[in-house]
Subunit: 75 residues, 12 copies
């Protein structure tokens, strides 16, 4: 069937968050997932796309994990 009037549908959504924790990357990444889950339904997989550390005066003060979630959006 053909399209009659202009219309649009979402096809892809990518969201990235950076989580941060003073003790571990697992905590940092979990914080990122839980923040994302507040506004998005149906998250299944969250990939870690960068791990780094924040340093102050020669000491690690935060482990940070960049977390990427990619999915179809039918809202």
């Amino acid at each position: 069937m053909s399209v009659k009037t202009p219309e649009a549908k979402p096809v892809h959504k990518i969201v990235e968050l950076v989580g941060s924790s003073p003790t571990s990357w697992e905590d940092a990444a979990r914080a990122a997932v839980e923040t994302a889950a507040k506004t998005m339904r149906d998250l299944r997989i969250a990939e870690v796309t960068r791990l780094d550390m924040k340093i102050e005066e020669g000491k690690v003060v935060a482990y940070r994990a960049r977390v990427t979630m990619s999915f179809k959006d039918n809202d």
Copy 2:
């Protein structure tokens, strides 16, 4: 200042929509932008990342534009 407890902040959001129109890519792309604008504030630029056509019985029945909007998310 150092981070004390796990926390997370969004850093990047990419949204793609495919708009469709029987007459022009401008109409198709505009439909994509207006659909995105219903749920997102502060859109400034929308890039066209693919143009194609839907064909039925040898005729073009829809011009389609894939539109990508990328921005910081501070919601």
Copy 3:
């Protein structure tokens, strides 16, 4: 089951045409699709892979769209 004698089957066919119109890329692309449809059955999608303009004496004399159709060939 194993193959007994030499034989061959088509696996992929890609066709590109350049359509041209004095007024719009939609007309140019539609001309490309309709030309292709004369000799090919079952076209469903045609992607635009290049847009350009032909210029004469500082004026645009043609909008041109390169259109690519890719599909399985079982003729």
Copy 4:
């Protein structure tokens, strides 16, 4: 001279076939070329773009050659 009405011309055609033979890649590739030649004129060069083998119960039962022919289409 400028273009006056929408028109289109083919610019590129790529065809891929997979030939198969129980004895050699030469036979497999030749089968692919001869199959293509039934519907296309003026083939000059056919490039091999993949060689593989079909295996059954630990034995090679077919040598297969993917053959790509690329040319201008002025039909």
Copy 5:
């Protein structure tokens, strides 16, 4: 024949402009070509290298086309 004194000749020039129109990408691109033509002779082809839209308050206010012209410079 060999070169006797230092000398130089231009070999390549690439110019990009962004055209903008409230109604269509064709108008936007044509504006880019006509602006370029004021200072350059012998333009033959102008390629579209980016299409986007400027958005205000959720509406498309401008269709924009980035146009690239590349040529030998013998001025």
Copy 6:
């Protein structure tokens, strides 16, 4: 503020020249810069993108430097 009529502005210009000298790449490159400076204002940086030599009868007869200048064009 939105755009009302079609308009265009230059965004990028890349110019390449090849300078040539019988004695050094410095002379060759300087010749390229000075040639470019005759028609362009506000050159700040010129990058060398290729060095080669012209050879005749087994001897180097010219050192050549391809020089690329890239800048915003607001003429």
Copy 7:
């Protein structure tokens, strides 16, 4: 010395496993290594090639590590 009859020798083997743990990526990766070690001798290094999380109802239920081991195979 030349080869007289057809013969073959292994040259490279790459194995990937995904380990999974409810508490940490270290546990997940260690599980992957220990599983691989059951059938392979002489593992020396295991590289992490992907970290992700499995999510259920907005919570992280598993930390997963993809582990890649690459080595010469002389069995």
Copy 8:
């Protein structure tokens, strides 16, 4: 269902062998497949990823085929 204890499963295995024959690449590749088949079940496809020749005193003494088999491993 969520994961309760650390566990791991294989996801990918890639094996490469080089077969060698004094007379043809078909013999060389077949030797590689038959060697691999001694320890692996369910091989279906083997791709040729390099063809070369061993040379001694200006003569070809062996035709060699590097063969790559990639598959899921559920052992």
Copy 9:
């Protein structure tokens, strides 16, 4: 102002260390940062560019993190 005599200034410095720990990648990475901090001032961010494990007799004996620090050097 122009340069009168030969002179040089540092523009970029990249340092990589591999930290190692029997228990976690966090400990391994922190060891790398603290080692780097002994001789470098003003470290702010340290990125993890590789995680792997050292294996002995089928067991993980060390978690290792390659850490990269990149910065301007004005010493």
Copy 10:
């Protein structure tokens, strides 16, 4: 020890030949190797970098192999 006067040494030589045979790629490649061997000593390995076929009137009239030999040159 330091270098006192200008001097030069070869570091790399790559030679490509295309062999051709009416019957097989092995014959084609062997012809390429034997041609190269007339003027080069110490060839050890010759890699096949392209296989194609020459076609006349829909028939394969030649199997062709492009063969690349790369080596240090200390002549």
Copy 11:
């Protein structure tokens, strides 16, 4: 032997400097090397990774060479 406590060792260091001279790239590059040598021991090779020129009023006022030194750091 296995690692017992967290520890770290440097594995790679890359330093880049830009040298500048009014007369030649050789002088510019030599200045970069000599500046680097003040604080680093055991430099053996310095690669040129960019040559450019600083321009004022259409004249070359400095030849600049970006020099990269990469080495193992065992301090």
Copy 12:
């Protein structure tokens, strides 16, 4: 016309030399060209593909130029 017996013809030859001089890259590159010219006829262009310096005790002791000559070989 078709090919009747196996035959081969050279299609490409690439030669690289590294020239070295205590004073300049021009001298280093010229030495490379003159060395190549002793055994090759018809050199026309020689491209510089790497410039570096040899360092001893913190001083530049040689400027080195890697020079690449690529051409058809019809010997």
